[in-house]
Amino acid sequence: MVEKDAVAKSKTSVTQQEFESIALVHTAALLRTALRMTKNQNDAEDLVQETMLKAYRFFDRFERGSNIKAWLFEIMTNIFINNYRQKARKPTGVSYEDVDDNFLYHQLESSRGMAVDPEEKLFSKLMDTDVRAAIGDLPEDFRMVVVLAFLEGFSYEEIAEIADIQLGTVKSRLHRARKLLQKSLWNYAAQRGFATEGGK
């Protein structure tokens, strides 16, 4: 009996160690994304904790060698959709149809001829907080794909898996999200005086 317990115990700690070394290392990435999803520190931490505990519970079903980060994100997205989304979701009336492709680039074209390179000027005007706010302002579905693609470096295919949407949907959401993001960044830059200077 004692022997059996010892065996069970060592098995447990091996699992714990493995989990710690291959799964827990993604805690920061999950937390960043959870903050984006829930927009609330407490909810984000709860969401990540729940994700990790669920992952641990099902750790034996994780196919060793496959992409654990994507697996963890998939678990988290499921929990978020089931448990948190309604709480966090606000109706959004964002319209993106009137934004052109490469919106920022085209806006900048009208600023060319200024002494300073307009691109460089634009980027120097925008603060970190502007970029974060611009991402935060995106409607939830768009925000999710942007965070997964731009900030966490997932491929379209991985995102489709994680968010349980079609590949085409990933692409179209990313496309729209980029437009919205560019429009939003432009507005933030304008608030910091970029557009008016550019018009001089």
């Binding site: 937390l31 903050l35 925008l126």
Partner: protein, 259 residues
Amino acid sequence: MNCREALEHLYDYLDNELNESTVRKVKAHLSTCEHCFDTYEFEKILHAFVAEKGKLNVDAEPLKMKVMERIAEIDASSGRSGLFHRFRPYFAAVAAVIVTAVGLYTLLDRRDNTLYAADIQPFLTCHQKCILEMTSGTNEVMTLDQIDSCFAEVVKLPEEFLVSSPDRDAVIGMVEKIGDRDYGHMMFKYGGNNISVYVLSKNRFIVPKGLELVKDENHEYHLGSLEQFNVLLWQCKNIWCLAVSDLDVNDMMTFASSY
């Protein structure tokens, strides 16, 4: 490749989602077209800029510690005994909750609409019997035989039972027979959590889509969630049981394995 095509591929290119031959074509175009080249360069810089500036700085260390502690706790208390023993004292004075029959409907396979959903208005007669059994001071979880003995005549469930009623001071259990199927339902509160268990069928149950299969050495569970509740479906000696609860899934499985 012309400019329109090149610009169509822009984002796929930036996201490394193009195949090699298309990448070559894009590059060939960019080497000859200044306008497209500038557009690509700008978007590339913007992409990198957003990726760099947009990333939130988080300190995940405290959370990691917390998770490891929880995992150690779970491992330490795993096995039948942990939750089962903690659970028993609550049986005597549990409050009950009905997690609406709607949840049950949702989980049932639509193909069996006629059999399951149409008039499921479950179980009442035996609920008093169940309460007696479960609150008689024995503090024991009902055995399967006891549950079986509770299967009795059908009494329609009053409408008010179909809505959430979290303050009932009793364990509630109900049973109904439809054809050769039995449906039972028990509800109780454990700690601050609600548990609602449906005993569904002695013969077969179609596992609804969306539940994932989890196995341990003794049981096979189908696990999922429904609104804010976790859903666990498992088969115990040919009786399908469905637990709907706001308990943590691990606790639910421990609970289920104690059946």
